[in-house]
Structures are given as structure tokens and as C-alpha cells.
Symmetry: C2
Subunit: 388 residues, 2 copies
């Protein structure tokens, strides 16, 4: 179950020889309508890959009929020739589907700074068009084909409880370079609800803000992040915007959690909940500072409840707080009270994968949760061996 | 040769039992004058250890007679009781030396959130007073006693070429949590030049700005950083401020480079030189963004000239640049030209410890160098095992 769960969508995933391993590396998602409304958000990195530049452009009119995605190469930092490759890919897919190139989004992920083998990619796209189906298997194959160092494919589905038959489906990839906003992620979310592009734009922004943009695995911001939301309208009904936002948010949080659970080399999924913040921005700044503290992330890998490193991270922010008022808990043990030692740190059980860090700034009522991972020798290994 | 190289200073380093290993852990530096002018700079972290709060306070009058330093415990996040411990330490040293507590700076380094064993510390201070000497051996012993995970003691000495006999000596420690500003460092720099406190303040700020504040080993900012500059005036002459600044800067850069060369688990010392920046601030922002990119630091550990990660890091900044104008070189090979692949990356030799990354923003005339290290499984190991 993935992007084909809602009606009106077909998908495919094929092996085109972009990956040396021979694993699937080209995915295609097609919206058969009747609607072609779409919205998307993109990396905040100022160095943007060719497919990001392309897809921003074709999405300007709020319409998309197809998304062609590849792993095995990011097509980033490849200059005008790389942009021409993306354009040619969209033209090729459009030709095979009887669309205009401006109806086709392109997403790429993999190593930066290398041109894509276009013969392989275009042949793969042709094969993907031939394989298109609206089945669960086809949706799963698409999710499979966008994996890079992901050890498992990621998909999520939710259905409306108020309007039977309205469904939201999503697939995603992302295993490192996970930082807001966004992560190194490609995500396609589909729905059969009727919704115009402006609504979809508000929905995907609101959903990402509390899901993908709250994930900070390693503080690194990719050149290729793309999150797309496509509505086919095949259900023939719309949902109240709040309900649609809620369901899309659930799908996005589910995908974000799957990414964290599969982050490169990680052994811990760490939720940092900041309470008592003066503002949401303050809470986010503190949460991210803690999430990015390499020393803390190493300590948690070593099952060491080193709360001093939490305080040292909080102290680097401009958030409103008094150092002598900070409370910190780790897995519900209040190890730091009023900026000084609290309960015995030996009471903290760090044997499981889930770690909950609570920070109370005692400066207001805002609450924010940010998710991260531990920093491990496995992460170092995967990222020192990535391209060599 | 260390802080005792200039005339007018005595030092000592002793084992007081603060470290489980039994290694030296208490150092003392005494300025016998005739002058007691001093200046210092401190961590920018808002969570500041008790010794930082104390030393800021006693240095407000620009005068110091002694500095007592300990490794084996940071006395950070220890509340009012921790501050009382620092105060008692200063009183104890002052009593033994016939000074007021307000003449005594205190520096601590080690684990955060744990009280110091005061009986051991005060007995060690008494022993250090008894051991005080103006010899090279005594200076070396002091440098040795402030080590934490440093594998070697760090010291540097420079002498004036224009005014024979005027000397600057320094000692430092720092091996992780190295980020501006400052690093996890304790540094004491001494000189026998005549200089008033206001001059020393300008000198140490200017020197740190281009040395300690340009080191960013792991992006983590400590609670205890302290850099002190003490002038005995025993040479009986002053230096032109520019010359004094130059010599102190040389000592500080020397110590900073020693810290980088000994950074926890590192196998590479990486100099990131940003040229063509619109402003120095832009250059610094870009340099630090590159220095903090975990993915790049892992790649360099794996001898992988992954310049795409350099561009991805630059893209996260607000500096003035056009993505299509960026040039990047690694060890003098221009691997990226105009934001796209340049010379063959296989030409880059990453076999040695020293790595030079050049970034040309093509946006102005400012140039900044920032230094960092690679990210290794050794770093993960040391920091996951630190307190357990």
C-alpha cells in the first residue's frame, strides 16, 4: 500500500541500471484524474539540484500529471547539462504518456556532482510506463525504487473516518542528510479527494511543518528534497480542509518516523520535547540545538544519560530562559532540576531504541517536539564509504 | 616551555586524585609581578560553569595574581553549591599565597553536572603552592595537569624580535567540544611585557578572533571555556600593541593548531579557506557551515573528495553568492567549477593528515580560514564512553 491506495493513481518501479547493485532505481507515479491539482515543497538549500529547479517551475501552475523519480544519482551540481538531462527526462515521460513536459515532475536522489546515465534512465522510464498499474504491488515497487541507503521501503496510508472511501497514500525515502527543511527526502503523497491546488499547498505546508521539518537526523540539508501532494479527485468528494490536513499530517509523520527509524547507522530514535517555551520558535531553536549536538548523540549511543550536554546545547541558543531554571528529563527521570543535578542518572534506562528527552524552559506555554537519532560508528562508516 | 617562559611567573602541576586514573589534575600559575594586569575571554554559552562565573567577576578590575585550574570535573550545572566550591577554592589558594580571593581566577574542565571532590582539590592546591617554581619543568607540569582527553600537553612560546627578552608563553587544553566561541579549552597566556589591562583586553580579543574562534572541531560549545592573558611587567618594557598582538596571536594559533592536531579520534586536520566573500562575516558563516557538515567530515575520513557535500553546506548559509558561480578545490585540485564538476576528483590526494578546502564565492574580496577535523568512529567511541 503506497501511492496507489487512493483511486486515480497508477505507479511502477523498475531497475534501469543507475545503481551498480542492479536494484530498482526508477519510479513513476501517474495521476489519471479527473483532477490534476498538485502542490509541493522543496529544499531550503540554496544549492538546488536540477530536478528541484525543474519541478518548482512546472508546479507553478498547481498541476501535475506524473512524477518520475530516480535513485542512483542526485543530478545536483551538474550545471546546465544536468538541467538539460532533467528536461529531457520529463519530455521523454510526457511523450510516452501523451502529456506535455510541463505536466511531469522530476525527482532524483543519490550522489551529488555526477551526471546521470541518460540512456539507462530513459530506457527505464519507458519500461516504467509499460509497467504502470493501480495495484498495491505497483505502489510498493515505486516505493522500493526510490531507496538509496534506506534499508526498507517507506509507505503510509490513511483513510477518512467521516467520508468513506477517501484515502491518502504516501511513499518516501530518506536515511541521512536529514535536517529541516527538509530532510534528504523524496516524498510523494496522493489522495483521491477533490481539492484545488491552493488548498493542497496549505495542507502540505501545514503537514510538513510538524513532520518532516521537525526531523533533524544529522543537521545536514540536502540539495534535492522534494515533497509532492497530488489529488486525483477520483473519490468525487472533498474533505473539510482541517480533516485533510490532519490525515496528510498523519501520513507525513508516519513517513518521517520511518525515516528516523531507518536513519543511517542509528541505534536510537530520540524525541526532544521542549515545554515552557516563550514561543514556538524558541522551542524549535532549542529542540534543534539539542538534536544537533554531536557529543550528546554519541553519549546516547553509548547509553550514557549525559544531561550536561543537553544543557550545553540549550546554552548556545537565543531562546528565552534562565540557566538556573532549566529542567531536563531523560526517559521520564528528572536528571536535572533548576540547572543542577536532580534525580540519580543511574535510574535512566537507555536500553531500548526510543529515547525521550524533556526540556522545560520555564519561560512560557509553547511546546515543540523535534526528532533525531544517535551518532554512531555505523553512521561514520556509511558516510565515509558512500561514494568510494 | 610554557607559562613560565616569561619572567615573573611560577607554576606547578600536581595529582590531587580528581581523575580516577591518578594522573595530574591540578595546575597553578602565579604572577609575581611587578604588574598584575590581566584580561580574559569566556565561553559564549549561556549555560556557564561556576568557575567561569567566578573568574568573570574577579577579572572585572583587570587584575589577577593567580590562576588555579583543575581537570577531572567541570563544576558546570552544579547550582549554588558548585559556585560555593569555586569560591572556596579561590579563598584557599589566596590564603596559601597571601592574596585576596579576588586576585585568584579559577578554571575547571571535565564532566558536567558533577560536584568536585573538594577535600582532594584543596589538598592538591596546597601541594601545588608548595611546588611552585619558575622553571620549564614547572611550566610543563602545569600544562600536563589540565589535560582531559588530550593525548599530549599543549604549550607555545614566542619572543620579541625587536625587544630582546620580552617573551610570551602559553598553555592550553582542548580535544573536543571545540567550537567558537570558544572551544572546550582552557588557555593561560603569560607575558613579561609591561601592558595595562585595557591593552591586554584588546590584544586577547584580537588574537582569539583569528585563532581559537576560527576552530570548529565538532560544532559543540562548552560551558567552561576560558582564555586568560596575564602580564607580569617583569621585563620592564612594553611592546608596541601591534607587535604584542602579533606575538600573542602566534601563540594562540599555535595552541589552536595543537588542539586540532589532537582532536578526539581525528585523522585529518582540515583548513577551509573561503575567498571571494562579500564580507568577513559571510566568509566565516560559509567556513563554519562547511566545518560543521557531518557528512563531509565522514567523507574526508574515508579519503573521499566529496565536493558535493561542500556545496550542500554552502547552500545552507545566507552569504552572498550565486550557486552557479561557486568554485571548490580540495588539496589544490579544482574539483568544482561554476557549481558543476571540474577537474577529475581522482586527482585529489587525501592520504595525508592535512586537508585544504578552498571555496571561492566570487562575491567580493574577503578571505577567511576556519579549521576543523574529520568525523571518525574514534570520535564516536571517545564521546560515547566519556562518562561511563
Amino acid at each position: 500500500m503506497s501511492v496507489t491506495a487512493p483511486r486515480g493513481f497508477r505507479a511502477a518501479g523498475v531497475a534501469a541500471g543507475l545503481k551498480p547493485s542492479g536494484r530498482p532505481d526508477v519510479a513513476l507515479v501517474v495521476n489519471d484524474g479527473p483532477s490534476d491539482a498538485a502542490a509541493g515543497i522543496f529544499t531550503a538549500n540554496r544549492v538546488q539540484a536540477a530536478p528541484v529547479l525543474w519541478t518548482r517551475q512546472v508546479l507553478a501552475d498547481g498541476r501535475l500529471r506524473a512524477v518520475i523519480l530516480n535513485s542512483g544519482g542526485a543530478n545536483a551540481c551538474t550545471g546546465p547539462a544536468g538541467f538539460a538531462d532533467t528536461h529531457a527526462t520529463a519530455e521523454h515521460v510526457a511523450g510516452a504518456l501523451g502529456l506535455g513536459a510541463g505536466d511531469v515532475a522530476v525527482c532524483s536522489t543519490g550522489l551529488i556532482g555526477v551526471r546521470l546515465p541518460m540512456d539507462n534512465l530513459l530506457a527505464g522510464a519507458t519500461k516504467a510506463v509499460a509497467d504502470l498499474a493501480d495495484t498495491d504491488t505497483a505502489g510498493a515497487a515505486a516505493a522500493e525504487a526510490i531507496r538509496t541507503t534506506d534499508t526498507v521501503a517507506k509507505a503510509a496510508v490513511r483513510t477518512s473516518s467521516t467520508t468513506p472511501g477517501v484515502t491518502i497514500g504516501g511513499m518516501g525515502k530518506g536515511a541521512a542528510m536529514l535536517a529541516p527543511s527538509l530532510a534528504t527526502m523524496l516524498v510523494v503523497v496522493t489522495t483521491d479527494a477533490v481539492a484545488d491546488a491552493a488548498t493542497l499547498d496549505r495542507v502540505i505546508r501545514a503537514s510538513s511543518r510538524v513532520s518532516f521539518e521537525r526531523v533533524d537526523s544529522d543537521g545536514c540539508l540536502s540539495t534535492n528534497d522534494t515533497v509532492l501532494l497530488l489529488a486525483s479527485g477520483a473519490a468525487g468528494v472533498s474533505l473539510p480542509e482541517a480533516e485533510l490536513t490532519g490525515l496528510v499530517t498523519e501520513v507525513c509523520i508516519d513517513l518521517a518516523q520511518q525515516m528516523l527509524g531507518d536513519a543511517e547507522g542509528s541505534t536510537k530514535t530520540i524525541a526532544i520535547t521542549v515545554t515552557g517555551a516563550a514561543t514556538e520558535d524558541d522551542g524549535l531553536e532549542v529542540g534543534r540545538a539539542v538534536a544537533r549536538n554531536n557529543l550528546l548523540k554519541c553519549a546516547l549511543y553509548g547509553k550514557d544519560p549525559n544531561w550536561g550536554r543537553v544543557l550545553a546545547a540549550i546554552g548556545t541558543t537565543k531562546a528565552v530562559f534562565e540557566p538556573d531554571a532549566l529542567d531536563v528529563s531523560i526517559n521520564e527521570v528528572r536528571v536535572c532540576r533548576a540547572g543542577a543535578p536532580g534525580e540519580d542518572r543511574d535510574l535512566v534506562d537507555l536500553s531500548g531504541r526510543e529515547v525521550r528527552i524533556g526540556v522545560d524552559l520555564h519561560a512560557g506555554d509553547a511546546e515543540v517536539t523535534v526528532w533525531t537519532n544517535d551518532l554512531t560508528d555505523g553512521y561514520v562508516y556509511e558516510n565515509s564509504a558512500y561514494s568510494t
